[in-house]
Symmetry: C2
Subunit: 322 residues, 2 copies
């Protein structure tokens, strides 16, 4: 409904680059709405991206991700950095957003003009978060953020996804979250660059750290590889946050030096390009671009047992080549 | 490495249809390996599918999903039904499987020849679970299962996915899992056909049921729509399981009567066909089918700021049309 705003794209992009919060917000809304204007937006933003360090913050529910993000942002602000925060809530694909407003989540920074905060849901349309998150990161990057924090709720798949699009992935845990097998099952031992036992003033924190260290040490690493440290924080009081930020910087330096930054960013671009291409194909297949809904016709035939899914996929691919 | 087995596909399919567990297992392995033989397998299975009722079982970690599945399977077996169980673990995309063996998870039924049990991880390759799960369901369906139970670990996205491929989705909760907002955030209020408060012998069970009922009653429903009941079980003792199975049957009858079964199965087929087509395109784009890795070339250019992701996607789509 708000697909065409009052401003032309070049003007909007110029204002976003000048740090105007309303213009940044508008561009991210275009991403959320999957606006046809995005093609022009991304082409205009492109020369101005690549500066921001993307920090993924993830972990199971209840470990204090929002509080930690809040404390990290405070520390980054003290260091004079401009910060963008994307709070991703993949758990609400139908309603399309978090229940709590951005201001509630990030109360300390709601009025700071050098902090952009935005919640995004997975609206389910098109390619979901794999499609929208990198583009929103791109907007914040071009708008001059030194750091973009991508906070993801949830366990499982979403952690892997945040790891896929971050330069540095921070995995949060808290004492008493269950035994080591649970942690391993959640896949978190494979995705973290930094591990944090938050709520470190609680009973069992030291044990959780020890267990985590042991499990991490089991993984094989090549010489020169990054060894993920395990840190302790009490995000609600800010304890340990400066040390954590120091480790984030150390990891950023390692990424550059080891050539890993380019590798990760290429991987991220790969997923982004694929997601955009796949979304375009989905539109073509389902007739959203004006044709008939071929997928629906084929799906009904598969459901009725009249054709098999591979034969139906072949038909779709024929249209893909129109 | 075991892409070509000793048996030809028609023989394997015939043996799976005759209920031979080893043949069923082999076919699901072909799905997990994304074998090129699947095209032939699915064409052969297709006429024999559509019989099984697909029951999705989901809920946050710790609510007793495996215990509940175990108890449900026991009840179905008492009713003389053949049962297939797919335990999906999307949290382990890299290692490709659950840490606990199938026998440990489902100890009671490990030796029952009318129960097929299989754990599947999201191997990350191709379309992941959206690609593999429906095909594994198809194998169990064709093998004569009356019910296929798809158990999914996790919160968030994975619940939505299991809802997408089940005829009936069962959402499990337990007392004291956190307040209502948490439940709403997890998206579970939108996906369940049946809700179960498991561990109902624990303190707070009645309150959890009341809260759940209140929240469910807030959603608008048309006349004739299914109203999700909220049941109480103690899966470890079997308490409430027969009542739950009765509700599953009642929902199955409603699906037929309301025309909803065909709608859901068409939606499921739609996702399956799309996932197969997208996986084929990914192979084409990345050169897995013998060409060069065009995505990698384009991704490197995007990461270097030389081109924008939409322009890169256009290039991919050109190849899609080869």
């Amino acid at each position: 409904m708000t697909r065409r705003g009052p401003q032309a794209v070049p003007d909007l992009v110029a204002r976003a680059r000048a740090g105007e919060a309303a213009a940044v917000a508008r561009l991210i809304t275009l991403v959320e709405d999957a606006s046809p204007l995005l093609r022009e937006v991304m082409a205009a933003l492109n020369p101005h991206t690549g500066h921001a360090h993307v920090l993924g913050v993830t972990g199971p529910p209840g470990v204090g991700k929002s509080t930690s993000t809040n404390a990290l942002v405070a520390g980054m602000r003290r260091a004079g950095k401009r910060v963008g925060v994307l709070a991703i809530d993949p758990s609400s694909p139908f309603s399309g957003g978090a229940l709590l407003g951005d201001r509630v989540r990030m109360g300390d920074h709601a009025l700071d003009k050098d902090v952009y905060i935005r919640s995004m849901g997975a609206r389910g349309h098109l390619g979901g978060l794999a499609w929208s998150t990198p583009q929103a990161v791109r907007v914040l990057d071009a708008a001059g953020c030194d750091v973009v924090v991508v906070e993801t709720v949830g366990v499982g798949q979403s952690e892997v996804e945040v790891a896929g699009l971050a330069d540095t992935t921070l995995v949060l845990l808290a004492p008493g979250m269950g035994d080591g097998i649970q942690a391993a099952k959640a896949g978190i031992l494979e995705v973290g660059d930094l591990y944090v036992v938050n709520k470190a003033d609680r009973e069992g924190a030291e044990r959780t750290r020890r267990e985590l260290r042991t499990m991490l040490s089991l993984g094989e690493r090549n010489e020169g590889a990054w060894r993920p440290p395990v840190l302790m924080t009490v995000a609600s009081t800010g304890e340990g946050i400066d040390g954590l930020l120091g480790e984030v910087d150390r990891h950023a330096a390692w990424l550059e030096q080891a050539g890993e930054l380019a590798r990760r960013r290429t991987l991220r671009a790969r997923r982004e390009v694929e997601a955009i291409a796949l979304a375009a194909l989905r539109e073509r297949w389902s007739g959203t671009d004006g044709g008939d809904d071929l997928v629906e016709v084929l799906a009904a035939r598969v459901a009725a047992g009249e054709t098999d899914p591979y034969a139906a996929a072949d038909r779709l691919l024929d249209r893909g080549g129109d």
